[in-house]
Symmetry: C2
Subunit: 183 residues, 2 copies
DNA sequence: GTATACTTATATCAAGTTGATATATCGAGT
DNA sequence: ACTCGATATATCAACTTGATATAAGTATAC
C-alpha cells in the first residue's frame, strides 16, 4: 500500500524521504497517513527491488534523493489499473492518482466501482428495512437509538461516495499529459 | 481498540471468541473488522488483565465462554466516555455503544465533536478555495480533475458526518436502561 | 451408515504499521 | 554564541492483518 503511494508521489519527480512524507501529509493527509516507521523501511525495500534509486546528496548528513525508475513507474501504473475497492480508503488514494490512468481503463473502473457501490447500497437498505421492522416491535426503541443510527450513517456515507463517483463519470475525457498508458 | 470493542460486545452477555467475531462482523462489520489473529491474543490479554473471565465449557474441544468482569465494564465505560475522534472510525464505534453512556456526558461529547467537525470543515473549505484559485491559473485544469475531486469528496464526507452528529444531538434524551453511569 | 463437505472453534506466523522516541544537522532570528 | 524550530533519518515494542493449520461437530447425499 505505502509502496504504491510512494511510487505515485515520485511520478512528480525526485524527492527525499522527508519530502515524500510532507507531500503525503499535505495532499492525501486527511484520509491517509504514513509514519516514518513505515516510510523509511518502504524506501529501503523499493530501492532493493530496483523500483526507485536513492542517491546521497552529499549536502546534509544522511539526506538521500529518491528517483523513480521505469520499473517503479510500471509497478505503480499496474497498481493504479487494478479494480477499486473501499478497503482502507484505497479508492480515494487510487482516484487521487487517476489523472495518470488512461481514460478508457479509468472509465471501466469507475463504471464497475459505481455498480459495486449500488449493490452495497441496496444490501444495506435491505438490512435497514429489516432492522426498522424489528425495532418497531421493541417496548423501548429509543434505548437503541445510537446503535441504530450508525447504520443510517453507513447508508449516508455510501450515498455520498456513490454520488461522488457518479460525478466523476460525468467528467469530460482528458488524456493524461505525461504519457502513462500501460501498454 | 479491539480490546474495548470486545468488552463492549460482552456487555450483552457471555460469549465465545467465535461468537464475538461473528457479532462484530454482523453489527459493526461494515466499517470495522476483527481478524482471529487479533481477536484471540486480545482475549488472552484481557483475561490476564482480569477484565474478562474465560472458562472452559467442557462441551466442544477448546471452546471457552468469556464473561465480562466488573473491572472490564469500568474500563469499557471509561473508554466510551473519552472524547470522540475520527481516527480509524473510532467515532462510529463509540457512538454504536453510546446508548450505554449517560445522557449528560453523551451530550457534551457530541457537542464538542460537532464543534471539532465544523472547525475541520471551515479549514477544508479554505483549502478548497485556495486550490480553486490556483487551479484557474493553470493552462489545462482538466489534467488535475481527479486529484482535485478527492478534496471535494473529503468535504462532502465531512458534511455527511457533521449532519449525522447534529441529528444525534436532536435525539430525545433516553437514560440507559442497564445502569451504566460511571460514577 | 458412511463418505463428503461445510460450519464452528482456536491457534500461529510472517510481514507490515503505528506511535513514540532518539539523534543530528541546518537556517533564522536574537 | 545561543536557542528554537524545521529538516532528516532511524529504531523499537506493541499491535494488526491475512494466510494458513488443525480439529471437532453437523448436515447432506448416495
Amino acid at each position: 500500500m505505502i509502496d504504491d503511494v510512494i511510487l505515485g508521489i515520485l511520478m512528480e519527480g525526485p524527492m527525499s524521504g522527508y519530502d515524500i512524507k510532507r507531500t503525503i501529509d499535505q495532499s492525501v493527509g486527511f484520509f491517509y497517513s504514513a509514519s516514518f516507521g513505515s516510510l523509511y523501511p518502504a524506501l529501503k525495500r523499493l530501492d532493493e527491488q530496483k523500483l526507485i534509486e536513492g542517491e546521497e546528496t552529499g549536502s546534509s548528513k544522511n539526506k538521500k534523493l529518491y528517483t523513480l525508475r521505469p520499473e517503479g513507474r510500471d509497478r505503480f501504473l499496474a497498481w493504479l489499473a487494478e479494480p477499486l475497492t473501499r478497503a482502507r480508503n484505497e479508492h480515494m488514494l487510487k482516484i487521487f492518482f487517476y489523472d495518470y490512468l488512461n481514460a478508457e481503463l479509468r472509465r471501466g473502473r469507475l463504471q464497475s466501482f459505481s455498480g459495486q457501490l449500488q449493490g452495497e447500497l441496496h444490501h444495506l437498505r435491505a438490512v435497514q428495512e429489516i432492522v426498522d421492522r424489528e425495532t418497531e416491535e421493541l417496548e423501548d426503541p429509543g434505548a437503541y437509538a445510537h446503535r441504530l443510527s450508525v447504520l443510517t450513517y453507513g447508508l449516508r456515507s455510501l450515498e455520498t461516495v456513490l454520488n461522488w463517483v457518479q460525478d466523476l463519470q460525468q467528467l469530460p475525457v482528458n488524456q493524461p499529459s505525461k504519457g502513462t498508458d500501460e501498454s
